[in-house]
Symmetry: C2
Subunit: 446 residues, 2 copies
């Protein structure tokens, strides 16, 4: 959601005139995410100036909400010590993301300027790959020893609640730090102060292993409707927790990524400049172009066939187009099915068989239809009807089958299934369809 135009106009004026007091006044009623939107709307030079007017508390929340471009503008203008204060105040997962994006020298300086506890938390988080449970978890949580009582836990919450947001659960640990239970806040409210926590906790809690892929974590949240989940190591030791707001972002990102990959584009074309937008689209389109040129050369090889009946060329677009559309449908089906968990290796063979059958049936339907059109155009040459009918049938069945199998194949070898889409599959499909068409025509017609 872009910021309100009137707010942006006012803010630009204030920044331009250096009216700091007005700016601070304006920010008073805004949420951090709204302030971040205002920063996005400013030009590059003003962003840093404006950001420096925020207090550390606000700054630490605003900076997590900024796009990477604006964040860089802002970071350029802050001193390492100021940045250390801001990072200390951030949630550890966001802090680790930010520090991880700094260049190595600056990251070291910032970490050195922080309190030892905070900096070691961040360093430990930086060890986990970004797209795993460890990479998205935060260290801030309330834990208690299994021997503790309700009033001891309440005292601990009182001590920590200003630093920790969204306390939904208390995590109960044994002597070795292994998670043995979880305690929803509501259980805490309903129990007497002297109750031992081991009596009111939920035992055998669901946990996320620290090396689980973030997409799998998202599927767990989706499936079990969790709001928060604990992250553990191989021995069951508690390492951190993941909250649902981060999962919502991941689900969004993965869907965006898949959609753009399906269309053969990079995600950043939404925010990038004309030049960057153009250059980032060139490689993808180049694959498509090379395929197209290959088709050009192949069609030229059939010049004799074509010159005997020029009208054959007129059927090319519909034969290619129908195959392309069927392929797009099938690829989308598999990519989305894998992302939402509906398609997996256990039901894949059945799905591929089904898709081949569907493609074949669609091919028969449209083969007959296109055959009729050809008969209308060339009533004296019934064989033209047969050729185009066979060509479109072949194109659609191949498209349905490859469009289903290729994404799954990519997935099985650990690649993103959406790669099997856009330029690549379309181009391969076009090649197969065109060559088959002219081979069939050459064999049957002349």
């Amino acid at each position: 959601m872009p910021a309100k135009a009137s707010d942006v106009k006012l803010l630009r004026e204030y920044v331009h005139k250096g009216w700091e007091f007005h700016i601070i006044d304006m920010l008073h009623d805004l949420e951090p995410v709204e302030i971040a939107e205002l920063i996005e709307a400013l030009d590059e030079e003003s962003r840093g100036k404006f950001f420096m007017l925020l207090d550390v508390d606000t700054a630490s929340e605003v900076i997590s909400e900024l796009s990477s471009a604006s964040r860089e503008d802002v970071l350029d203008d802050i001193s390492d010590t100021d940045l250390a204060r801001i990072v200390e105040d951030m949630d550890s997962d966001d802090a680790a993301d930010l520090v991880g994006d700094l260049n190595a020298a600056r990251a070291e300086r910032v970490l050195a300027a922080m309190s030892p506890k905070e900096s070691s938390d961040i360093k430990s988080l930086l060890m986990y790959p970004e797209d795993t449970a460890g990479g998205i978890m935060q260290r801030e949580l309330i834990s208690a020893h299994q021997g503790a009582t309700v009033d001891e836990i309440v005292a601990k919450i009182r001590r920590l609640c200003s630093e920790i947001d969204n306390i939904h659960m208390v995590y109960v640990l044994d002597n070795k730090g292994v998670l043995v239970g979880t305690l929803p806040l509501v259980n805490l409210i309903l129990s007497k102060p002297e109750t031992p926590v081991s009596q009111i906790m939920d035992e055998e809690p669901m946990t996320v292993p620290v090396d689980m892929d973030q997409e799998e974590v998202a599927q767990l949240f989706r499936k079990y409707d969790y709001v928060v989940m604990p992250v553990v190591d191989d021995e069951g030791g508690l390492l951190g927790r993941i909250t649902v707001d981060d999962i919502v972002d991941i689900i969004d990102e993965e869907a965006t990524e898949d959609m753009f990959m399906l269309a053969g584009a990079e995600e950043d074309i939404l925010t990038s400049s004309i030049m960057k937008n153009t250059t980032s689209r060139i490689p993808w389109l180049f694959v498509c172009w090379v395929g197209g040129v290959l088709i050009t050369f192949l069609v030229n090889r059939f010049e004799t066939t074509l010159s005997q009946l020029v009208g054959l060329a007129a059927f090319m677009p519909v034969i290619l187009g129908m195959g392309g559309n069927v392929a797009a449908q099938s690829v989308t089906l598999v990519v989305r099915g894998i992302a939402t968990g509906l398609v997996s290796s256990s039901n894949f063979v059945a799905l591929a068989g089904k898709q081949l059958a569907v493609g074949f049936m669609l091919g028969v339907v449209y083969g007959i239809l296109l055959g009729c059109v050809a008969y209308f155009l060339y009533p004296e040459m019934i064989r033209v009807s047969i050729v185009v009918a066979l060509a479109i049938m072949n194109s659609m069945a191949v498209a349905a089958f490859l469009g289903t199998v290729l994404p799954m194949l990519f997935f099985q070898i650990g690649k993103d299934p959406a790669i099997a889409s856009g330029p690549f599959v379309t181009t391969a499909m076009d090649l197969i369809a065109v060559v088959s068409y002219f081979v069939i025509a050459t064999l049957l017609l002349f």
Copy 2:
């Protein structure tokens, strides 16, 4: 996630042999969503039989997790009175969804067999359109009068906590039922029993108007990282609450819907039978086919041009393909941008201009490249190079522009922007590209 194959095999055997005791034993350790997955894996006749073995408590949770096909199988086998008991036990939002899907006569019978309070809750929810805040909210929540004290609220939570899941917040109301504040559970824990709620509540809470579109609600949750939000009427009266797990489902559904619509397919092709799958794809593909046939006739009109240089036909696939790919990129960009809030009417004109510029630049790049290929094939006819270069430039610029503008146009008139994709835009684009190509060729070549 499909259920484990070994569990499914075992269950099929038990159901087949009628070993109810074994089945009940097997279900003991499973979550409702896992039991639902087992039901999905059974054949149609066994589903109802198996479902009837569940106790009301479990049944009410399992039934919300079933796909619509399995749910119908199960509902066919339950008596109206049993169904009434199950519906009473469901969360009101899920209950309303289920009752809303029954035929009118059965819905009335089931509602009549329920307790008056529960049935009136459901009736009131059924009045709101399905895809608005009212359609996704639930009535179950903890509210308190602004004059209440902490211990009174704790007593109320104790009374209701077995019926209400996920109590994150207490909603504070004035005499008229208007929401005046919210009270996170943690505030309750940290306050003395005699504290008046008005002293510890957060005032001016964020609310969702009951008629807000569900996509907008999802954007609010995303933006502000909410776990739960109260739903209010025009006067600020509290009507219900929306929890983040439903938002996760909506975000998922909307993304799936957009992706399938972009590919010109219905969502249900993932789960439907071969026949249904085929027929559901026929109409979409028909649009594409009609466009393709139209192109066939148009190309035929240029037979004279084509017969003078048969090789012109060979460039058609690459000219159409490049336009189609650019269009797919641009449509995806706008559709996803609208869904995530990055594209709106305020920044749209700038975006459309940018996309036209990008399309033009891409067209120049690939125009020059294709011109070179044409020169290689027809070194003696430099004009062929000019014709194909102009044709691909035109095709790509038009594709980038229309691919950006059409989805936005659909959005502005209240339609799904993703409609402007798949068969429709592709076909229109192909038509424009082919006709331009042959018009340019006819004018410049002969």
